[in-house]
Amino acid sequence: MCGDAKVIERVLNGDTEAFGILVKRYEKQIVNYIFRMIGSYQDALELSQEVFLKAYIALGSYKSDYSFSTWLFRIARNRTIDFIRKKRPETVSMEGKGDDDSMKPQYSDSGLRPDEEFERKRIQLAVQKAVSMLDPQYREVIIMYHVDGLKYEEISAILGLPIGTVKNRIFRARKILKEMLEGEL
């Protein structure tokens, strides 16, 4: 598998289809980040497509000072914040809207016993609900760190904050979550 830099070079040299490799490589992280930030699966898919298109358009201005994923996450973050600002009054749902199943997120099977599965789901829903109620500045670091599995350095580069501040923000977010979930866990 070739690195991001090589694929980017191919795209910039006119091989448009090579951009599909980058989409396939980062689609999961971007869709998950946006979905956990805004709560609507359908909107998350739509926004993610916009993010990739924006990345394609701006690919010429990408500089290798940061990794491609960091740059892509920056675009995704800016677009998501814009979206949240415009849709401010609406409550964020973690399970998606609408009756149509294709509009709802699909998860993989956990393989647990029904009672364990029920308890796990109950706690998980409580945790996800609590995360969705966090202030966006705390929500985004929690999602980047715990859902997308980004490292402190990567989050710090995406947000343009010192690593210490990122660590502190994650800790504050966990503290708020702990207080919110005290009766549930």
């Binding site: 599909g20 989409v23 497509q49 945790v127 995360v131 660590k167 702990k178 979930l181 005290e182």
Partner: protein, 170 residues
């Protein structure tokens, strides 16, 4: 809450010195409150790590690539328009250079004058036709006859066009 209890947050953050960490871990053996807090923090962290990832539809990449292709098509279209405008401007400048500025200005003057005259005549024609129509369809005794006549012509035209259209389709 004693002095050691205050180390809780830094213990969770992992920023305690080795010595203080050992001190706090010993403290956890008898301070139920701190023990409960640490357990809660751990549970929150574990559950955050368990937040499931959503699946991305298989067609997602194709949808993005379709948008990319559309964008490229638009971009090419804009390049063509841009080139056409540039060529037009270039030719105009060359034309002006060869014909001479005063001649171009006088041509533009005559062109705009003719356009004004045309607009004036067109306005007058519209006004005359509307006035005549108003006179024909105004209050009168046999208006219903005129309407019936017009309606028959329109129906005839409509039926003929439907017939010819169905023939074409067949």
């Amino acid at each position: 809450m004693n002095k050691v209890c205050k180390l809780l947050e830094r213990y969770i953050e992992g920023t305690l010195s080795e010595e203080k960490e050992v001190l706090f871990e010993n403290h956890l053996k008898y301070c139920l409150n701190c023990k409960r807090e640490v357990e809660l923090y751990r549970k929150v962290e574990d559950n955050l790590n368990l937040i499931p990832s959503v699946k991305v539809p298989d067609v997602f990449k194709d949808l993005v690539m379709e948008r990319v292709r559309e964008y490229r098509k638009k971009l090419i279209g804009w390049y063509i328009y841009g080139s056409a405008v540039t060529i037009f401007l270039l030719l105009s400048f060359i034309g002006i250079y060869f014909i001479g500025v005063s001649k171009v200005i006088s041509s533009f003057y005559f062109l705009s004058k003719s356009l004004c005259d045309f607009a004036q005549s067109f306005g007058l024609a519209v006004f005359t036709i509307s006035a005549s129509l108003y006179n024909c369809f105004g209050v009168g005794r046999f208006n219903w006859l005129i309407y019936l006549f017009l309606f028959s012509i329109l129906s005839f035209v409509f039926v003929r066009s439907v017939k010819s259209f169905s023939k074409e389709v067949r």
